[in-house]
């Protein structure tokens, strides 16, 4: 039979989404979800805020220190500390256990090597040294263009260091169904009329899980692609496809 669900979801092995699938030696695939420009810009803004506060606090501390130890020593200390904060902030946090600056962490992001493992000090160092080039000509325009033109949203520093910025799946940053979408009606499980392949079963179950996040017309549009299986279209098609999904998932 003509099965269009699987073709839509992943014909020719070419994924429609940005997931990066990596096979581990442990015999399992992991999936990385690279983060786009917007969320990374937000993370950077948070880091910038923290950085500015740190600079203000440091200059106050520097003045206090100058009063105690004299100008020269305080100026030297402040230069070294300022240098350390300026170049070390990102390196320190990204090379740490969490692999994320406070800003990235807040946005649920993490820096990883492109194999999915921790990035390591050398790679983190590289990606932050090349930050200079990403900033050029103005306000991270270089990095923005690089992100837009690479498949895994890598800025120049990421390309040089072989790193990715990915979403870290955590309990407190789960993507919820969009509020205001009418939930699809509950359905009774119903077996599909023909034997489905593994991928096809997967596509039907995913439809069941995701359809709650879409608007009604979008649901119908996607379900219409599977009209060969459901034998009907529109809202009936959605219901039948969801029924098959429940049967496949729960029994």
């Amino acid at each position: 039979m003509t099965m269009s669900v699987a073709q839509t979801a992943g014909a020719m092995g070419k994924p429609l989404d940005t997931l990066q699938r990596i096979e581990l030696a442990e015999g399992v695939d992991i999936e990385l979800r690279p983060a786009g420009v917007m969320v990374r810009a937000c993370a950077f803004s948070i880091d910038l805020g923290i950085f500015i506060v740190a600079v203000i606090l440091l200059s106050v501390a520097g003045n206090l220190l100058a009063a105690v130890t004299g100008e020269g020593f305080a100026a030297g200390t402040m230069s070294i500390v300022g240098f350390g904060v300026y170049w070390g902030y990102h390196v320190f946090y990204e090379a740490g256990v969490r692999g994320a600056t406070p800003g990235k962490r807040r946005m649920g992001l993490r820096v990883v090597a492109d194999g999915g493992g921790p990035a390591g000090l050398g790679a983190v160092m590289l990606r932050n040294v090349v930050r200079v080039a990403d900033f050029l000509p103005w306000c991270y325009l270089g990095g923005l263009l690089s992100c837009l033109f690479t498949r895994r949203f890598q800025r120049l520093g990421d390309l040089v260091a072989h790193t990715l910025v990915v979403y870290e799946t955590r309990k407190d940053v789960v993507v919820e169904p969009v509020a205001g979408m009418p939930p699809p009606l509950p359905v009774e499980p119903e077996p599909p009329p023909v034997t489905l392949s593994r991928e096809e079963r997967g596509a039907v179950v995913r439809f069941l899980e995701r359809s709650g996040m879409w608007s009604g017309p979008r649901r119908r549009e996607v379900a219409d692609h599977a009209s060969g299986l459901t034998g009907t279209g529109g809202e009936d098609g959605v219901a039948r496809l969801r029924a098959m999904g429940r049967w496949l998932r729960d029994s």
Binding site: L24, E26, G27, V28, D29, I30, E31, L32, G70, E71, G72, F73, A74, A75, G76, T77, M78, S79, I80, G82, F83, Y86, W87, V97, R98, G99, V112, G116, P118, G120, L121, G122, A123, M125, L126, V129, V130, R131, V132, A133, L136, G142, L156, G157, L159, V160, A161, H162, E168, T169, R198, E199, G202, V205, R206, E209, R210, R249, D250, S251
Partner: protein
């Protein structure tokens, strides 16, 4: 087996794995940590099974995230920092400089060429120097190296050796790091920065030849010149290496070439910055100290020699590796 049964069956073990991972991520050292490899293997098997049976996205996603977390915990590099620094200094850095000797020579030329030109300009056409330096800089140089009254270089401004030391670190190492990073733009950033630094430093030197007391000047700079200038040039070399991957990726894709260039440039960045850092030490605590000029010159010459021997000879015979990467 249905997804629900599968989940019921393994839920407790996943929760245990999750709790252990959280504890280890917080940096706690628990005796339970020895169980992580076993739990991780079982988790991998579960995740593979869930993916194969195409259980729902939520379950697969959670298992996926947990696999990644456990793997990161197991793969974390720890300790041996001293070993990695030693490998870098005794092998990887000098080996990298020799491997990139062509780019290093180009960087040296770009930096010292304009510098020599500006010094020559002092004799033949000082207008070149005036075109680079502003009146403020010339006045400052007059104050520092002008004939006549002995002022303690920049010391009046910052007040102490330590103050200057900090200032040199911040200023010079930052220049080196920026040079290395900006080089990735098809070398342009590093080419420009190297030549620019050469012109500015050469103009200052030339101005002292033209209007100042050269002995005062060379007494001060001779001690740290070798490490500081060559350190900067090596940072520039790292930038050129990155840019080379964009201009001339060879038989690799540009992405692969960039990553390879990153690996090879890393010891240059580390090493160059360490040289500049070391030079800041000398500049802060030795260069301005009183002492006979001959001693200062001798130490300066020694440093050039030491650096040359180090870069040419160190790390030969061993196998090249990536101990510091």
């Amino acid at each position: 087996m249905t997804q629900q049964a599968f989940t019921e069956q393994n839920r407790e073990r996943w929760a245990e794995t999750e709790a252990l991972a959280s504890a280890l991520e917080k940096g706690g050292k628990t005796a339970e940590a020895v169980r992580l490899p076993m739990l991780y293997r079982q988790l991998c098997a579960d995740s593979a099974l869930a993916q194969h049976r195409i259980y729902g996205e939520k379950l697969c996603g959670e298992l996926n995230a947990l696999v990644i977390r456990c793997r990161n915990l197991l793969a974390r590099e720890e300790g041996a920092a001293a070993w990695r620094v030693a490998t870098l200094l005794l092998r990887d850095f000098p080996v990298a400089v020799r491997r990139e000797w062509r780019l290093f020579a180009l960087a040296m030329l770009l930096f010292f060429g304009p510098m020599a030109g500006m010094v020559a300009a002092a004799k033949y056409d000082p207008r070149w120097i005036f075109a680079v330096l502003g009146p403020g800089e010339m006045r400052m140089l007059d104050g520092m190296y002008g004939p006549g009254d002995e002022k303690e270089f920049l010391r009046g401004e910052f007040g102490s050796d330590f103050g200057m030391f900090g200032h040199y670190i911040e200023n010079n190492v930052s220049i080196g790091l920026r040079m290395a990073g900006a080089g990735v733009l098809a070398m342009v950033g590093a080419l420009f920065a190297l030549a620019y630094q050469g012109v500015v430093i050469g103009a200052m030197q030339g101005y002292v030849h033209y209007a100042g007391d050269t002995e005062k000047f060379y007494r001060f700079v001779s001690g740290h010149a070798a490490f500081e200038l060559v350190g900067i040039v090596i940072c520039g070399t790292a930038g050129l290496r990155l840019g080379q991957a964009v201009l001339k990726p060879g038989r690799m894709s540009r992405g692969d070439a960039l990553a390879e260039a990153g690996r090879q440039a890393l010891p240059l960045i580390y090493g160059g910055c360490l040289l500049v850092f070391f030079a800041a030490f000398i500049e802060g605590f030795w260069s301005a100290s009183p002492g006979p000029t001959s001693v200062k010159y001798a130490v300066g010459a020694m440093n050039w020699l030491l650096l040359a021997v180090y870069l040419c000879g160190c790390g030969r015979g061993g196998k090249e590796g990536s101990g510091a990467a």
